[in-house]
Symmetry: C2
Subunit: 379 residues, 2 copies
């Protein structure tokens, strides 16, 4: 058989779940992981332990792979270009991926292709932040380092010029954005293949707690059909214009005046798409693998009227196994996804999916399980 080898850089839970999705596809899956204890490294057969920032390590890893893809966006662009020059397909490629690595590049490109974003500008210093505030409705202003942020890290909401000093200390360029008056956050997830086939998942509502995704509801309840279609088309258009291959998550603000503005882009399977593992005909992970191999994509439509994903965060108690038994006994329909990670307070260690016809029931079951596993619910 000539079934191909997919190499994935990064040993986190996204790689773990991509491997899981790759098993039925019959592909061989190779992993480059920081340590043998990483989430994906525990479950993959072919694991190379090494540093993705080292080009020689990447080159050695890429040997024998038919395509390289990613669990995260941190591989340096020049290394990806070197792999491409070696003849290894890198998907998404460096010219696309830079838009998920650098928020300044992303904003400039979205402006150029006419995609609506929050008002924004690269700022040089606190005085420049004050000027940016004055050009709009004043403070608060959102400041973001253009590179290296995730899950609320590298993001500040500042109320004054005094508070604006902190983000500049790292010496990384800083992007200022208006604080959008949004009613909720949405995500439009699409998958695109090298030959240009693309599929769109239904637009979901993403609820954040302290900058970390907490709950995702698929599809977004009560979302106007035209606005949903507009968001899906926007995500498909971004994928095409930026040359994305694989899964693209477009995180959106739904504004009080009925528009959607792009918040962030991620070019890999994404937390807002975890519901697809149990809630869609084809999961985001399976479609990501199919896309990077240029296989025909699978049907992205939902299997249930409502699917809810709730993240399981670490709590104060390190052993989740007894809580786990309780949750399984309480709800035999619950779909639990554990990542094999040590429990640390606030760390994402798993997620649960629930689905059904009654949104209140589906939400309650997901939230109860996630809260019980974390230890914030005890009955």
């Amino acid at each position: 058989m000539t079934f191909p080898v997919v190499g994935m850089v990064g040993g986190g839970q996204l790689a773990r779940m991509t491997h899981e999705a790759g098993i039925p596809l019959g592909i061989r899956f190779k992993l480059l992981s920081d340590t043998p204890q990483d989430s994906a490294a525990q479950v993959v057969n072919e694991v190379v332990i090494g540093d993705y920032r080292d080009l020689d390590t990447l080159r050695e890893f890429a040997r024998g792979c038919d395509v390289i893809t990613f669990d995260h966006e941190h591989v340096p662009t020049e290394h990806l270009k070197a792999l491409e020059a070696d003849g290894i397909p890198v998907r998404p490629g460096p010219d696309a991926l830079v838009h998920a690595q650098d928020k300044g590049v992303m904003r400039a490109r979205l402006d150029a292709i006419g995609v609506p974003c929050p008002r924004h500008r690269i700022v040089r210093d606190p005085a420049d932040v004050a000027a940016f505030a004055q050009e709009g409705d004043g403070f608060p202003v959102v400041l973001k380092t253009v590179r290296g942020g995730y899950d609320g890290k590298g993001v500040w909401v500042v109320d004054s010029v005094e508070e604006a000093a902190e983000p500049f200390r790292a010496g990384v360029p800083v992007l200022a954005e208006e604080k959008v008056d949004f009613v909720r956050e949405l995500a439009a997830n699409v998958v695109r293949s090298p030959h240009g086939q693309a599929v769109a998942y239904p637009v979901v509502e993403s609820q954040q707690v302290k900058g970390v995704c907490d709950t995702v509801i698929a599809p977004a309840p009560g979302l106007d059909e035209d606005l949903a279609l507009h968001a899906e088309e926007m995500a498909l258009s971004i994928a095409k214009e930026l040359g994305v291959v694989g899964h693209l998550a477009v995180e959106l603000f739904q504004t009080r005046d009925g528009r959607v503005l792009v918040n962030e882009l991620a070019m890999r399977p994404h937390n807002s798409g975890h519901w697809t593992m149990d809630g869609a005909i084809t999961s985001q992970f399976a479609n990501h693998v199919r896309a990077v191999l240029d296989l025909p994509l699978g049907d992205p439509r939902p299997r249930a009227k409502w699917t809810v994903m709730a993240n399981v965060l670490g709590g104060d108690y390190p052993d989740m196994y007894s809580a786990y038994l309780h949750c399984m006994a309480r709800d035999p329909q619950l779909k639990i996804h554990m990542y094999g990670k040590d429990v640390k307070p606030g760390r994402k260690v798993g997620h649960v999916n629930t689905y059904g016809d009654d949104l209140d029931d589906v939400l309650e079951r997901a939230r109860h399980a996630a809260g019980y596993l974390r230890g914030t619910i005890t009955e």
Copy 2:
């Protein structure tokens, strides 16, 4: 975290799919495989290469496992008893498993607990076969070696005393059975945990071609509700009486006069349960893992009105990858499960699942994909 380690003996596709189901459960999965090329050995992180017939190998493998379970029924009973004496939970245990290893023991036990079987008797030689035939409706008679058969191997349908010589050549005891006048074959699949919780999947129709499972339809079309319930209760009762832990497949004949008779038992995930991977709320593999760990079992109910599984057998052309692309493009809802095995004519190398509301459509899609992959359909 104190998530447990499941050790599985045997590197075939059942272990591969059990590992896949174990990943979201967060358990560690250890494999004892004959070779590194075996289906499961390609995708599992912790693989021990060794011979399951060697007790020292089994003991070394079992060290650090919280439970031992099986991809096949071939581990010698005395080795399993030795592991149990070492304090390793073996699930299913040797006293249960012997009923899936030895058809003579199985028939005697089912007789004792009043489960209806085809008329049967252990026979000593061809003359004894002739006597057995005369006691009933004459030839044909089915002869089976009591140990070692699978997928039609070790089974003969003989029309005369002359033909009855062959099965005795291996020197293994031979079981004679009446050739049942059945209208179709069914399977009743159940899962049972050590503390006695049990779940029953809907009874399915299993269509065989040349002694090998070809297509499974879930649920069995047009099956009388009372008969379905009777079959489920029979399977649950067998699981309880025999002390089965894990998945039990009860293969059944549905007779022309409206009864069900037990054909075979398998105490592991089974081909007749592959449809559950995409068609049930909880798959047989996930429930097998939950059972052997004594975790609460998951909901076995179907997610679609009809689910069809079709086995992909090897054909004359060794490279399935281009056929694979065609099938994905033709049917974006198709669920393909490839086992990573080299293609040999007639060898099970994968299966496909389809589901939906219209049985004719669901059947056509599954059969087309399986036939196209094998090469018997070319358009």
